[in-house]
């Protein structure tokens, strides 16, 4: 019963350079499977850079290079022969600003499955209903699936983005980059509820500017500062008796 959960992602002495600047300065961290890891820290601490490194979205920005290793289920995702496309199907992402693609709600959800070659209408229909239900959006949109995703509210769009990730059969890890920063409290609560339910199936990493959100949702919390991982531990410990003085100052609101 007290066996430690298996490690989903192991990050080893990982550095990211953007041009000459070192955005991430040697992070070593194990992310256990089927838990929610919260990442907190002031602006510019490398949280987003860290998150985007985990599905190699940083590859898209010019003059970014990395050192160190990120192992997903023991495999180095930065190995030259590693298949980035399959990595991104396994490691889904939600962005700070909800981005519905300019197509129907239905097409938004099946974007990933279609790429994986699923064509059968019945199967796609089933995926749409299941994913939207898991994202707590089904009841609101089930009668207008052909409507453009752009016409949904911000909170609905963010849940649509979540459904889009959940629609991918291959998804195992969900990265969330301040997913609620622009949302109202009710939408935020819906996303948080969804995450709490989803962790039985997925490993979730949640970057948040809102320390209270980390306290509510995360099982473990990591505190980043100026590109360094200051400390990581069970959320309760980080918020009550952290090892590092700086963590204590941040979570009690003395800076940041």
């Amino acid at each position: 019963m007290n066996q430690p959960p298996p490690i989903k992602i192991a990050i080893k002495n990982f550095r990211v350079f953007q041009g000459k600047e070192e955005a991430l300065r040697g992070v070593t961290l194990d992310v256990p499977a089927n838990r929610v890891l919260g990442i907190i820290g002031p602006a510019g601490s490398g949280k987003t850079t860290f998150l985007r490194a985990l599905n190699r979205l940083n590859d898209l920005s010019p003059d970014t290079h990395i050192e160190g290793q990120v192992l997903l289920d023991g495999e180095d995702i930065y190995h030259p022969e590693y298949d980035v496309v399959s990595l991104r199907k396994r490691v889904g992402m939600l962005f700070a600003l909800p981005v519905a693609l300019p197509m129907s709600i239905y097409e938004n959800v099946v974007y990933g499955p279609r790429l994986s070659g699923i064509r059968k209408r019945a199967q796609l229909d089933e995926i749409v209903e299941r994913s939207l239900t898991s994202a707590f959006l089904w009841d609101e949109v089930k009668d207008r699936l052909q409507m453009s995703g752009l016409r949904l509210s911000g909170g609905q769009q963010q849940r649509l983005c979540l459904a889009r990730v959940l629609a991918m059969d291959e998804a195992e890890v969900i990265l969330l980059d301040e997913p609620c920063s622009g949302l109202d409290p009710i939408s935020t609560a819906k996303i948080e509820d969804a995450l709490t339910l989803l962790k039985s199936k997925y490993t979730i990493i949640l970057v948040t500017n809102n320390t209270k959100q980390a306290a509510r949702v995360a099982d473990d919390t990591a505190f980043f500062l100026l590109g360094e991982l200051v400390e990581c531990g069970p959320t309760k410990k980080i918020f009550t008796v952290p090892d590092d003085k700086r963590t204590n100052e941040y979570v009690t609101g003395r800076f940041g």
Binding site: S86, P102, Y111, G112, L115
Partner: protein
């Protein structure tokens, strides 16, 4: 003396309004002039029969066909090349010396007078490749001529597609090509269509480059290796050689109406497409 903001505002409105009015008046005058002089000669007979006696009498049917086929073929050649180039420049390369040189080259190409393209087409396609004056020589020449316009407008349209869309697509496991096909091109389509309309407009009105490459045969083309005469060329020859002023104006009227119709159809199609996506 400083002009008070109020007076400046009134002046600005007056000057800008006058400029707009002048532009409109010139435009309307040209169109009305040509239509008044030409429309009486436009009959079903005129549209549907072949010219007689070098165009002194009879209709313009073969030139109508030539005017449709030549730009159509030119766009069919230029569109894949142009869109392909702009996708490559925007999605597959980072800004560097090479892309800058390419862009500079296309901009220069856009500014070259059409008669130079005509001369090039004549020397290269008609003479060197022994294709003769024909539909294909003309279409290839026009394609080169409209290529810069299509590349530039497509490139701008593609750049205007929000980067967030691309990131989302990548994050859902799409390759670059899948992202181009499913997200970038559909969203850039209205801009690309604008480029195509401009290209069609330019090739329909083109005379110099066409005379040199497609020739001016009045016979009905049956293959792409037949010479054709477009309405612009027909109009030019009728007027230049003093063959028939009435028929020249009638041809011009048909030409103007065709251009208006093409623009109308293209814009309607585009708006319908945009409306469908934003539903």
């Amino acid at each position: 003396m400083r002009i008070s903001p109020k007076v400046a505002q009134i002046l600005a409105v007056a000057v800008l309004g006058a400029a707009t009015l002048l532009t409109l008046v010139v435009l309307v005058f040209v169109i009305v002039f040509v239509l008044v002089k030409g429309l009486p000669g436009v009959t079903w007979q005129f549209l549907s029969t072949a010219p007689l006696d070098m165009g002194k009498s009879g209709g313009i049917f073969p030139t109508l066909v030539g005017t449709v086929l030549l730009p159509l073929l030119a766009i069919a050649i230029a569109l894949p090349l142009g869109v392909g180039t702009s996708v490559y420049l925007t999605e597959y390369t980072r800004e560097n010396r090479f892309t800058q040189a390419l862009r500079f080259g296309t901009d220069c190409l856009a500014g070259i007078p059409s008669i130079i393209f005509g001369l090039f087409g004549f020397i290269f396609f008609v003479v060197m490749l022994r294709m003769g004056w024909c539909l294909l020589s003309g279409a290839l020449t026009l394609a080169i001529m409209v290529l810069p316009t299509i590349i530039r407008t497509s490139e701008e349209a593609i750049r205007a597609v929000p980067n967030a869309y691309r990131e989302v697509s990548f994050s859902l496991g799409a390759t670059r090509w899948e992202t181009v096909l499913r997200v970038v091109l559909p969203n850039a389509l209205p801009g690309i269509v604008t480029g195509v309309i401009l290209g069609i407009g330019r090739s329909i009105g083109e005379t110099a480059a066409v005379i040199f490459t497609a020739g001016s045969s009045l016979r009905m083309p049956t293959t792409v290796f037949d010479s054709v005469r477009t309405m612009s060329v027909h109009f030019y020859i009728l007027a230049r050689e003093g063959i028939s002023n009435e028929n020249a104006y009638a041809t011009a009227a048909v030409l103007i109406i065709s251009v208006l119709l093409i623009n109308l159809v293209a814009y309607t199609m585009m708006h319908r497409f945009i409306a469908k996506r934003a539903k």
